[in-house]
């Protein structure tokens, strides 16, 4: 072989090796095609909106508004129980034998903090965006939604994982960690007090109200939604005057109105009724499918959750709301079985929207706030009767006063808001005992009880040793 050829061959090898070398840095510089970098992604209103949508999508989690969070407050009290023929979900909640490695508790905790951490990122990026007259309203609305989302998630966390505000005189008992800054370094926060959490929730909703500017936006926070939720927070806190004040603002805004008696039943299959202030939106391509709350109530599928007879019996036969509970038979199990029809798409499109707050609740918040203040019983009766007579036009107006009036409002909350995720919280915030009704027995749980709040999830406790566990877990 000629020497020249040899040199040529060797040169090619050399070229190949060095050639690859010069490109190798680019060659191994690959980015994830499904993702965008954390920094620098939110650059305008559109990208900000993408980030806020991500936050809402966490509200859709199975363990948040699409099932667990709406189910537990009903199940852990006297409205709902798990049939003795079941697929095995939530049994530990049905008999209050929850342990810290419970998957639903972890799912709820994780989803709620994902709402918060993603909202924090969107707030930080959104507040840094340049504003002009064309985008100012949109950016403010988006940031306002994020403050409201952060507030709601903290409020839901503190209700589920901590004793109610009234548990100690100054609410200095353990709440949940407050997170209000965009994640930079890994944190392992301790629990804030319940008072601190409520203060933060109130501050965030208050801030949101100043930013939100779109009166009607189905599936998203609006000024009325934030005010109604703030009224609810004040109610839980026992700040009656503020609860009344914000409830009044929502009622007076005129953006929403109560459904009529005739519209009421059908409205549960509809999205964004005139009465709905804020609801979590599901669509045919973005739906919880068999994991939704509707599929858990509707029979022939799972249908594991049944209404209690105790609840059914609170409704008069003429009460339109009784139609949302149908007496029937659960094959191989309960007869009669009371079947919940409040999420009627569970067996069809499986995309029921989940109502977070409705105008009817705002009336009941104001009724309770007025009754609790003293001297406003007549106003309270009026609000209460609005809700009672919408459901049962022939019902006699309530004329009770004092504690009896408050008790009657609590009963009405149970009837109007059944299956919407309020019952347990309404009982404990009022320091009332909880009647745990199951398929075959009922047990009175004396307030306060460790069992009426959830454990800090084991996975959180393991990763964050500084966080204190709730007693009894």
């Amino acid at each position: 072989m000629a020497l020249q050829k040899l040199i040529y061959k060797t040169a090619i090898v050399g070229l190949l090796i060095t050639g690859a070398g010069s490109c190798s840095k680019d060659f191994v510089d690959l980015t994830n095609p499904q993702s965008l970098p954390l920094n620098g992604t939110i650059t305008d209103l559109k990208s900000l909106t993408n980030a806020t949508n991500g936050v809402y999508s966490y509200f859709q989690s199975i363990d948040y508004y699409n099932r667990t969070f709406v189910l537990l407050p009903e199940l852990m009290a006297d409205n709902v129980y798990i049939s003795r023929r079941n697929v095995g979900f939530y049994l530990n909640y049905d008999n209050l034998a929850v342990s810290s490695n419970d998957g639903n508790a972890l799912g709820a905790w994780a989803s709620m903090y994902n709402v918060i951490s993603n909202a924090n990122l969107a707030i930080a990026a959104g507040e840094a965006l340049p504003v002009n007259s064309a985008t100012e309203g949109g950016i403010k609305q988006a940031i306002g939604e994020m403050y409201a989302a952060r507030a709601l998630a903290h409020f839901d966390l503190v209700r589920l994982f901590a004793q109610p505000y009234s548990f100690t005189a100054d609410a200095n008992h353990p709440g949940v960690p407050i997170i209000t800054t965009a994640q930079k370094a890994i944190i392992s926060p301790a629990r804030n007090t319940v008072k601190e959490v409520y203060d933060q929730v109130i501050a965030d909703f208050t801030k949101a109200i100043t930013l939100l500017n779109v009166a009607k936006k189905g599936g998203y926070f609006t000024p009325d939604a934030a005010k109604a939720l703030l009224a609810k927070v004040y109610l839980y806190k026992g700040d009656w005057a503020n609860a009344e004040s914000f409830a009044s603002q929502v009622i007076a805004s005129g953006n929403h109105s109560l459904l009529t008696n005739a519209q009421y039943i059908a409205s549960w299959a509809n999205d964004f009724s005139v009465e709905s202030l804020f609801e979590i939106e599901n669509t045919p391509t973005d739906r919880p499918a068999v994991n939704g709350i509707g599929f858990f109530y509707e029979q022939t599928a799972y249908g594991d959750a049944l209404a209690t007879k105790d609840l059914y019996d609170t409704y008069a036969a003429t009460d339109i709301r009784r139609q949302l509970i149908q007496p029937g038979v659960r094959a191989n199990a309960e007869n009669p079985a009371y079947i919940v029809k409040k999420y009627p798409k569970g067996l069809t499109t499986q995309d029921d929207n989940v109502k977070v707050i409705r105008l009817a609740e705002v009336y009941l918040i104001r009724a309770e706030a007025r009754a609790a203040q003293g001297g406003k019983d007549a106003l309270a009766q009026a609000d209460l009767n609005t809700i009672i007579q919408r459901a049962e036009p022939t019902a006699a107006p309530v004329t009770l006063t004092g504690q009896a009036l408050i008790d009657r409002i609590m009963l009405e909350r149970r009837k109007e808001l059944a299956f919407e995720g309020n019952r347990l919280f309404d009982l404990t915030r009022r320091k009332m005992n909880v009647n745990l009704i199951q398929s075959d027995k009922s047990t009175v749980i004396t307030y306060p009880s460790n069992k009426l709040i959830l454990p800090i999830p084991l996975a959180e406790k393991n990763a964050n040793p500084g966080i204190a566990q709730n007693p009894g877990y």
């Binding site: 949508n53 936050v55 994640q183 944190i187 068999v290 966080i467």
Partner: protein
């Protein structure tokens, strides 16, 4: 950016092609003159003539084959050296030195381990000259084994290698690790290199989680498997060598008459330990539930009769007793056919094969089918240029089960469903009161996964000088998964939607280019060798998903027949690697060897600041039998000492581990959305493996006893770990980080003894092979902030094992009251009856301490018998879902309230009973409610198993065929399990956890091999 990459890619390909083309153009033939040399090849011991031995002139182009009498004729110069090679015999080099009639005695490979030529990274060399620790596996260990993948057959045959089957799903991916687990959360799987191609280690399926692309390789096509273990052997693979490397070489043809082989196998498989956890029948369940009613004071029922009446009112139907196991467990059929041909002439050789494999799992509706073909060729273009290549085409067709605790898994449903529910209504329709009715699942739903695979490579070796050669090899590994899913409208997940269908396409393409410059020179007694190499690899995965609902009619299952769109999506993942390496070795008198290896790798998954890493090793070998002082030690035939130390690496299994990002797909209200799905770590870097190995290879007593002993210590530092962090951080609540270090230490011994060695070819022979491996895993350090990380069921603690189970300790049953108890403290001194009060404690490791295999082979005349016993000691197994199936009557008469046989057999019944399982309490809550994970479901994993036994007979037919053999083979026929409470097969626990996998099976197979 994309455009840039494409240009870059094409540039790389152009370069490679240019090189290959230019190599082909060189056609200079340098014929060498010589005289005729004749001779005879015989076996060393028996002196029988050997036909078909390849005789070639070393460094030349001439080649011939010995005839049926062992005679050969070849033209060679008197200064030339002749090379004699034949499968099963040690290569021999003989200088012609003016001899014209030679007698060559070839020694079978089994006898002198050190002289065997073995496949090593980027080449072949004698075992004696290799400084690394390796184990070679003979082709018969994997061929005709009636197992879908060759990997399964390695179990028990390679010291230090664990192959955990985990599932009885034929063709499923396996848990394979060499010398312990090297990583927390990066891969623990070795690198597989097939004919020089690093193949993909990710499944090419989206629906079938457990598919195994390597199962596409026909085990009958495999010529040899080399398992590389220590630094000296693996460091040349740099960042991918950390977990060891398995080299697979497929068969090549040999010059001479064409050889045709045909194989046929038929057989059956059955569930192992079928009766151990047989579901309770209605009478047995009634017995438990009756006790439960009587034990529940709040029910106020005091007689068994009243209890039974109550149970019937609660839904127990005493007239129905469904055996849910019998409904879905079957005897599965197995068949395999293979045909291959090989041969060639002095210039060109070929190997072609086709194979068919079909196995039904022991669960109805689960099966596996494979067809494959392969073409391999080598061509000596001239004295200097050698071209070789191969193409394997195959498809795998499987119906799988996704092992997890959900309704789509029939194994889960079988364990949970109560016997007093019938799968059918009186009118023959399905009982849809059982949400997860296995009969609907198995009869009506469809799920099919097809994987099409091509594995092709083309390479050329060009000898520039006698001492210097270049090699270039390009390869493409292309996998396409095509999967269909159909849920019948009667199935729970599709009831509301009138049927759901899904189509999933997964494409995985992986190309690899290797260029080598090889140098070899002898300076008197000194020998030097070097390989300079460069390699680039790119893997691309794309997934396409479409799901629709509302089907027009039964029988129409393509998506066009459905009206409602549920989901459409696609995703792309990419990974790339670029490397340079240099491997050098020096020897003195072929007695002392030193090997130095260095490699620089750049890989895309790492943080921008730490993308490139350096790896390397140093190894020594000393062939002591060549020393003068050993001459007096007559019984030693060979003795080699080895030692090596080095650094290898490991990459994260998450290809974008270092990047923090917003991920799309968090949509809301039909508007796109994104959310945080990764927390960034720009300094994420290579996991470093620093293996130290010292070993000895020996052969004594006229080679009747040979073996290898190794001690190793692997320190893994910069551990890649997905550290769990507080959920308040958002995203995945974990961050990839490099933390701490741990050690894997162990001893490996393998011995082969020829107990009885016949002096005639038909006499009685008895050979025993034995291997034993120990392994110990110890965490040396974690992060500075944390000396303990709890991760699921495991705790990682300084000084402890990486797979230490961590859960509440079950303290048994109060003999007086029958209530369950747990330990209040780690020291197991005090107990509590309140589960939530119990303390978490360490409960033992999921890693075995000792394992190995014992093989005995006997042969006499045409009959042979061999069996392999596998043993495994010292690990714990956890039944992840035992807390659901040991419900102690807490589930009452619920359809998912079935109680397992272990509880039935071990329960407390009356005061004074020392029992393992507590009393039954109807709808009780003290024990038996879900999520009460504890050591109650932790078992000893020790077992001994007759892994396979084969009896074969060589038919005395010599017309038409050269060899005809029939055989009968059994796999997993006998298993001894130490823990008599263990409910499942000890292998049915992947990584120590049972997740409802397809049960492991035993097989009986009859087969016929024919050679022409």
């Amino acid at each position: 950016m994309f455009e840039e990459k494409r240009q870059y890619l094409s540039k790389r390909l152009t370069n490679a092609l240019l090189l290959l083309c230019s190599l082909f153009m060189v056609n200079a033939l340098f014929a060498q003159g010589g005289s005729l040399v004749t001779g005879k090849v015989i076996t060393d011991k028996e002196e029988l003539p050997l036909k078909g031995v390849t005789v070639s002139v070393k460094g030349g182009n001439q080649m011939t084959l010995s005839d049926v009498n062992g005679n050969f004729r070849i033209s060679a110069a008197s200064s030339a050296t002749l090379l004699f090679t034949s499968v099963g015999f040690v290569d021999q080099e003989v200088p012609v030195s003016d001899q014209s009639n030679l007698t060559i005695r070839l020694v079978t490979t089994a006898r002198t381990l050190n002289e065997v030529v073995v496949t090593v990274p980027y080449g072949r060399q004698t075992r004696a000259s290799y400084t690394g620790s390796l184990t070679t596996v003979a082709p018969e260990v994997v061929a005709n084994r009636s197992r879908a993948s060759f990997q399964e057959s390695l179990q028990g045959n390679v010291p230090g290698l664990i192959v955990s089957q985990g599932s009885g799903q034929p063709g499923a991916a396996l848990n394979i690790n060499i010398r312990g687990l090297g990583s927390f959360s990066a891969s623990n799987s070795p690198l597989f290199v097939v004919d020089g191609i690093p193949v993909v280690d990710v499944p090419a399926t989206a629906y079938a989680w457990s598919s195994n692309t390597l199962a596409g390789i026909n085990p009958n096509d495999i010529e040899s498997i080399t398992v590389l273990k220590d630094a000296s052997a693996t460091s040349i693979y740099g960042s991918r060598g950390g977990n060891g490397v398995i080299l697979i070489t497929t068969k090549r043809g040999a010059a001479g008459s064409t050889k045709i082989e045909a194989t046929v196998q038929h057989g059956y498989n059955e569930m192992t330990r079928k009766d151990r956890n047989k579901p309770l029948n209605t009478a047995e369940m009634t017995e438990l539930l009756t006790e439960g009613v009587l034990n529940n004071p709040s029910l106020n029922i005091s007689t068994p009769e009243a209890a039974r009446t109550y149970l019937v009112a609660q839904g127990l139907n005493p007239n129905v007793s469904t055996d849910w196991q019998d409904l879905i467990i079957r005897r599965g059929k197995f068949s395999q056919y293979g045909l291959s041909a090989s041969g060639g002439n002095e210039k060109t050789t070929f190997f072609v094969s086709a194979g068919y494999f079909k196995q039904d799992a022991v669960v109805k509706g689960v099966d596996y089918e494979r067809m494959n073909t392969r073409i391999n060729f080598t061509h000596k273009a001239n004295r200097r240029l050698n071209i070789n290549g191969g193409l394997g085409l195959n498809y795998q067709d499987m119906n799988t089960v996704r092992a997890a605790w959900w309704g789509e898994n029939p194994i889960r449903n079988l364990r949970l469903t109560s016997p007093f529910y019938s799968p059918y209504n009186a009118d023959g329709s399905y009982n849809l009161g059982i949400a997860y009715n296995n009969e609907v699942l198995i009869n009506e739903n469809k799920k099919n996964s097809m994987v099409y695979q091509t594995l092709g490579n083309l390479g050329a070796e060009f000898k520039i000088l006698d001492q210097l050669s270049i090699e270039s090899r390009g390869s493409i590994d292309f996998n396409f998964g095509d999967e269909e899913l159909y849920w019948d409208p009667q199935w729970v997940d599709a009831q509301a939607l009138n049927g759901v269908g899904g189509n999933y396409s997964t494409k995985v393409s992986n190309w690899n280019i290797t260029n080598l410059l090889k140098y070899r020179q002898q300076f008197g007694d000194f020998g030097a060798e070097a390989i300079l190499g460069q390699e680039a690899q790119r893997t691309h995965r794309k997934l396409l998903v479409a799901e629709k609902a509302n089907f027009a009619a039964q029988g129409l299952e393509t998506l066009d027949a459905a009206s409602q769109l549920l989901a459409v999506g696609s995703a792309v993942l990419e990974r790339s690697l670029v490397s340079y390496f240099l491997n050098t070795s020096f020897n003195y008198k072929n007695r002392y060897f030193v090997n130095l290896t260095g490699r620089r790798d750049g890989a895309s998954p790492f943080g921008a600041d730490r993308r490139f890493g350096n790896f390397g090793s140093i190894g020594f070998a000393w062939n002591m039998e060549k020393e003068a002082f050993m001459e007096s030690v007559g019984f030693v035939n060979s003795l080699k000492l080895r030692a090596s130390y080095g650094v290898t690496g490991n990459q994260p299994s998450n290809w974008y581990a270092a990047q923090g990002f917003y991920s799309a797909g968090f949509n809301y209200g039909n508007v796109p959305g994104y959310a945080v799905s990764g927390l960034a770590n720009a300094s994420l870097t290579w996991e470093k493996n620093k293996p130290f190995d010292i070993g000895v290879d020996f052969s004594i007593l006229k080679n009747r006893l040979s073996g290898t002993v190794d001690y190793y210590q692997r320190r893994t530092s910069n551990l890649l770990f997905s550290v769990p962090v507080s959920y308040t951080n958002g995203g995945p609540a974990s961050v990839f980080n490099n933390i701490g270090a741990f050690d894997n230490k162990g001893v490996e011994v393998s011995l082969t003894a020829q107990n009885i060695r016949s002096t005639t070819s038909n006499g009685f022979n008895w050979t025993t092979s034995f291997n034993i491996s120990t392994q110990k895993n110890k965490i040396v350090s974690l992060t500075q902030q944390q000396n303990r990380i709890v991760d699921g069921f495991f705790v990682h603690e300084q000084g402890g094992s990486m797979y230490e189970f961590y859960m509440r300790g079950w303290a048994g049953v109060d003999a007086q009251t029958g209530e369950g108890m747990w330990y209040l403290d780690e020291g197991r001194k005090t107990t509590t009856k309140v589960y939530n009060d119990a303390a978490f404690a360490k409960q033992g490791s999921a890693l075995p301490k000792v394992f190995g295999g014992l093989t005995n082979s006997f042969s006499y005349k045409g009959v042979s018998l061999s069996f392999l016993i596998f043993y495994n000691f010292g690990n714990k197994l956890y039944d992840n879902y035992g807390h659901f199936t040991s419900s102690d009557a807490a589930q009452g008469t619920n359809v998912y309230g079935s109680i397992d046989r272990t509880t039935y057999e071990n329960r407390w019944r009356k005061p004074g009973d020392i029992a393992f399982a507590p009393k039954m309490v109807f709808r009780g809550t003290q024990t038996g409610v879900a999520q009460q994970h504890s050591s109650r479901w932790l078992y000893d994993g020790d077992y001994i198993r007759l892994r396979d036994i084969t009896i074969s007979y060589d038919l005395p037919i010599k017309r038409f065929v050269t060899n005809a053999q029939i055989y009968l083979r059994g796999n997993n026929l006998i298993t001894y399990v130490k823990d008599d409470r263990l409910p499942y097969d000890p292998e049915g626990y992947l990584g120590g956890l049972n997740n409802g996998q397809v049960p492991v099976s035993k097989q009986i197979v009859a087969g016929l091999n024919l050679s022409f």
